[in-house]
Amino acid sequence: MPRFASAAHHERVAARVGSWLGIAFGLCFLTGLLSHLIQHPQPWFAWPSGPAWLYRVTQGTHVLSGIVAIPLLLAKLWSVYPKLFERPAVRSALHGLERLSILVLIGAAFFELFTGLFNIAQNYLWGFYFPTAHYAVAWIAIGSVLVHVAVKLPIIKRAYEPAAPNPDRRRFLRTTALTAGVAFVATAGATIPLLRRVSVLAHRSTADLPVNRTAAAAGIEVPDGWRLEVVAGDRTSTFTLDELAALPQATEELPIACVEGWSASAQWGGVRVAELLRRCGAEPGADVRVTSLEKAGLYSRSVLPGTHTRDERTLLALRVAGEQLSPDHGYPCRVIAPSRPGVLQTKWVTRIEVIA
């Protein structure tokens, strides 16, 4: 059996790194749950349309807390590594169960961090649908964290009792915090403008407004006689691009905040969705279904909830940064609403239908 002499393996270290990791996992779970609920609306859940930066912050927190959890998890595992060699390996049924629950905890934690990290790089090593798997295992991860904390509570309490300072333990904790900080600074520029040039490993580069799906990838061809169709009850209104441009125009500074954790603010110009609905005989505050020219694909349509159609900042954008939308940004028109995941800011819009 190996001999572990380092102060890093002390329970006071394990408890502290564990607390930090618990906070990171807790933040990651809660913000991930929010994002899931926004994309899978429930009757009991409403997501506000303001402040406009809200989703940018919650989803940025989701991805960054996950990234910071990587060094924290490794430090925590190193801290408790000697326990792997405990003999006898299983002392009782209960002890066996506890060890098994730790295997589940580590497996789930690794699964979440690994799939999350590769997913934000759009580097799909697997064939399965990421959101479903990442969501299911998130519950397993947080559940086994809670069970683990409950089991270890007496040790955690003991570990936080006052004790004489130990420089070796302190050094390990400082190094752990330092590596977490390095991970943060190296990646956070994906969403924090101040770090944009500093974060050399950010998945978003320094472009003003990234594109997550190009017109070519989505197979978009805008037909010659393109018209926007707005359906409200049995009334259907149609608009050419010139007719949309002739309606009262508005400009809003709104962020695109991707589920993958990057964000970018831009100045959007176009018609207020509330104004468009009023002109078509519908009341702002109704839910509307937005359909894209994209034929297939999960994100070829979205439902814009009443909270967002009521919000005057929600635009059917025709322009970004003063220029007509490029094909990649959603020409002829796209939805841009405050505090929404980027996947729901449907591009290449062809039809808007009032559903409630």
Binding site: S6, A136, A150, T175, A207
Partner: protein
């Protein structure tokens, strides 16, 4: 408090397992791939990563003068983390979609710069510590 945490944890575990079974029974390929990641992570860590970390730490402790221990070990840990974070950006066997503004930095150069900064700070710290503290 303890019982509540435990019960809440079990409930979340049960719900997650239900979702996972629902996910896994839809496709055998998905089951195998996700199980491989779930089990592969802990095994890879315990059998490969942790022994390398421990071995490196032990080696550094043996060969370095004490004043340099902390700086070099911290820099080695930071190096490992930076390399880990760079892997998905540098290594993509199945390719990545072309999306302007996303995953399109020069990550190899970026990683080298970050490592340069880390080791420069480590060297400076080590020098200052060894000047302050005479080697026994």
């Amino acid at each position: 408090m303890r019982a509540a945490l435990f019960a809440l944890g079990l409930a979340a575990l049960a719900w997650g397992s239900w979702l996972a079974v629902d996910f896994a029974t839809a496709s055998w390929r998905d089951t195998w791939q996700s199980l491989a990641i779930f089990v592969g992570g802990p095994v890879l860590h315990d059998a490969v990563v942790a022994p390398i970390v421990g071995g490196t730490a032990l080696l550094l402790t043996r060969v370095l003068p004490p004043a340099w221990h902390t700086a070099v070990k911290a820099a080695a840990a930071a190096t490992a983390v930076l390399v880990l974070l760079a892997i998905p950006l540098l290594w993509h066997p199945f390719g990545v979609p072309t999306n302007p503004g996303l995953h399109d930095r020069d990550y190899a150069t970026g990683l080298l710069i970050a490592l340069g900064v880390v080791w420069l700070v480590a060297a400076t710290t080590g020098l200052i510590t060894s000047k302050r503290r005479p080697t026994p």
